[in-house]
Amino acid sequence: MSGYLLEARNVTKLFPAAGKKKVHAVSDVSLQIREGETLGLVGESGCGKSTLGRLLIRLLAPTSGEVRFRGENITALKDSDFRRIRKEMQLVFQDPYASLDPRMTVRDLVAEPIETWRLCGSREEVTDRVRELLRAVNVPEEFLYRYPHQFSGGQRQRIGIARAIAADPSFIVCDEPVSALDVSVQNQILNLLRDLKTSRKLTYLFISHDLSVVRYLADRVCIMFLGKICEIGDTEEIYTRPRHPYTRFLLDAVPVPDPSVRGKEIRLLKGEPPSPADPPTGCRFRTRCPRATEKCAASEPELRYIGGVQAACYYAEEGPA
């Protein structure tokens, strides 16, 4: 046993692209998730965070590398052998409008995983279990026979969460679960996810482009840029003392709801993001990095420990550029 619930070892995912090119969605990523912790996965669109989430729960197969669940290499398992582990891993999707079948009632939607895994005997037992799950996510029980379109976005996301926890998983990938919701509703869902984590002893991989969401939920955070990990470690530590230049840009760019900081010049990232089909040599961030030197172009910096967190930058010790 490695002691981790989930572990990715040198996971790479290439997608074929036009002109025999390959898109490097995830490149040589290694990370560990401990039982009961929440790992936040942050990055901008196209950085590979959703792909990595899907690789970890074997919705995608890596091009190379392996994923281990409770020490067992699940990448090597046959589908039939993997089935018993599938139940342990669930996914909460971004769009609560698209992820629920519009022709199924709430009862049937939430009952589906219970029936798939044959967790209850009779139909009544299943319905009772559905009621219990709806209570857990604060959806009134009298809505049992309603359809998704009769609910607000927030309630739909609650139903999506009820489905995800129905088979009693130990690991849930939340892929942008609140970004389609109104601000006042987002917090309700985030609080719910946090409560469920404690009451059901869950482990989360929490994917989000919203740094404030991750700040609230994640014990540790992993920042990705163009398929690579830039920085990973304790959330508090990274938010207060970011080591990687990209993390700094990301944190600086978040608009703060305080007009008094307005005069302060915000450092803007220069240029356009490089293409994942044709990533730069060396450090992938170097074409946009104010600190980049020849060394950064010549070879790729490895993740290394700098005071408790890991960062992939040659100049991580030197503070803001």
């Binding site: 901008e44 601000v183 006042s184 509703v185 978040v254 608009p255 709801p257 007009p259 307005r262």
Partner: protein, 324 residues
């Protein structure tokens, strides 16, 4: 002394539905002074986008402006015939949207699309239009502008597409630019760039009406803010004033819901309940169902939008000090 680029007074929009008429915008008044960025903030369905569409004259049928007036640089435009309204759009006022991909023609090169807009609004030659397009692309800071002219929309990133949209909106140097959630679909580092660009445009003489649900965005660029809820303005103040002392319980709820980057916390603040259905609005204050301070009077009567001090208006009995 301060010239108004846009003045809206008592604007009401009505949509007939099978279950009765709804008013997504009800008695909305607002002003955009020349050379400023004014924000409208609120959640989905609060009427902020609908207000913008009504100002532009772009309401989707069967929606109608049933009351109120819109003045563009002092000229009343609501009563103008459609042909005249059309002349204003693009020339005097233009609009950009949340998702630039849906506003661009996917099978036409972006340079051509901007050229087309130029030729439609001016009588310049093809060559001249081409030159102007390149200028505009440079002005909105599109890197490698020349090569981007011959790109199709799908070949551009979201940020670049939004820049193309802004270039197109700026063709005739309109007096007013309405930006409807212009950065919501973009990454934070790109968002920061686009907000900077909007400030440059403001400095160059285009006033901006900015619609957003993000208080951070509002704080960064707006001079004045209107908070909308269920079709009405519930609070209005300068950005500094509103962020320092929000008075309406809804505004206060929004501010409390903001998640901090600097510190973690145990439980996030929420506003209980959901935005009400416009068909089933409560009799009194629209926010009364979710308001932690709701009193008897609030359930029965809709409060007026009243100034508590010069430049700060709020639609709440509590803030007036009338109900304790």
């Amino acid at each position: 002394m301060n010239e108004m680029t846009l003045e809206v007074s008592g604007l009401t929009v009505c949509y007939p539905t099978e279950k009765g008429a709804i008013f997504p915008v009800k008695d909305v008044s607002l002003k955009v002074p020349a050379g400023s960025i004014v924000g409208i903030v609120g959640e989905s369905g609060c009427g902020k986008s609908m207000t913008a569409r009504a100002v532009m004259g772009l309401l989707r049928s069967p929606g109608k402006v049933t009351a109120g007036k819109v003045f563009l640089c002092g000229r009343e435009i609501t009563a103008l015939p459609e042909k005249e309204r059309r002349k204003l759009r693009g020339n005097e006022m233009s609009m950009i949207f949340q998702e630039p991909m849906t506003s661009l023609n996917p099978v036409m090169k972006v340079g051509k699309q901007v050229e087309e807009a130029i030729r439609l609004h001016t009588d310049c030659s093809r060559e001249e239009a081409k030159r102007r397009t390149l200028e505009l692309f440079r002005e909105v800071e599109i890197p490698e502008a020349e090569t981007r002219l011959s790109c199709y929309p799908h070949q551009l990133s979201g940020g670049l597409r939004q820049r193309v949209m802004i270039a197109m909106a700026m063709v005739c140097r309109p007096r007013l630019l309405i930006a409807d959630e212009p950065t919501t679909a973009l990454d934070v580092t790109v968002e920061a760039q686009i907000l900077k660009l909007l400030e440059h445009l403001r400095d160059a003489g285009t006033s901006v009406l900015m619609i957003s649900h993000n208080l951070g965005v509002i704080a960064r660029v707006c001079d004045e803010v209107y908070v909308m809820y269920a079709g009405r303005v519930v609070e209005q103040a300068s950005t500094e004033r509103l962020f320092e002392q929000p008075l309406h319980p809804y505004s206060r709820g929004l501010f409390r819901s903001v998640r901090s980057l600097r510190e973690g916390c145990e439980t996030l603040e929420t506003i209980p309940g959901v935005v009400p259905n416009l068909l089933r609005l409560p009799q009194g204050c629209s926010f009364s169902l979710r308001c932690p301070e709701c009193g008897e009077k609030c359930e029965k009567t809709m409060p007026e939008l009243l100034e508590t001090e010069p430049g700060h208006a709020v639609r709440c009995f509590r803030a007036e000090g009338g109900e304790e």
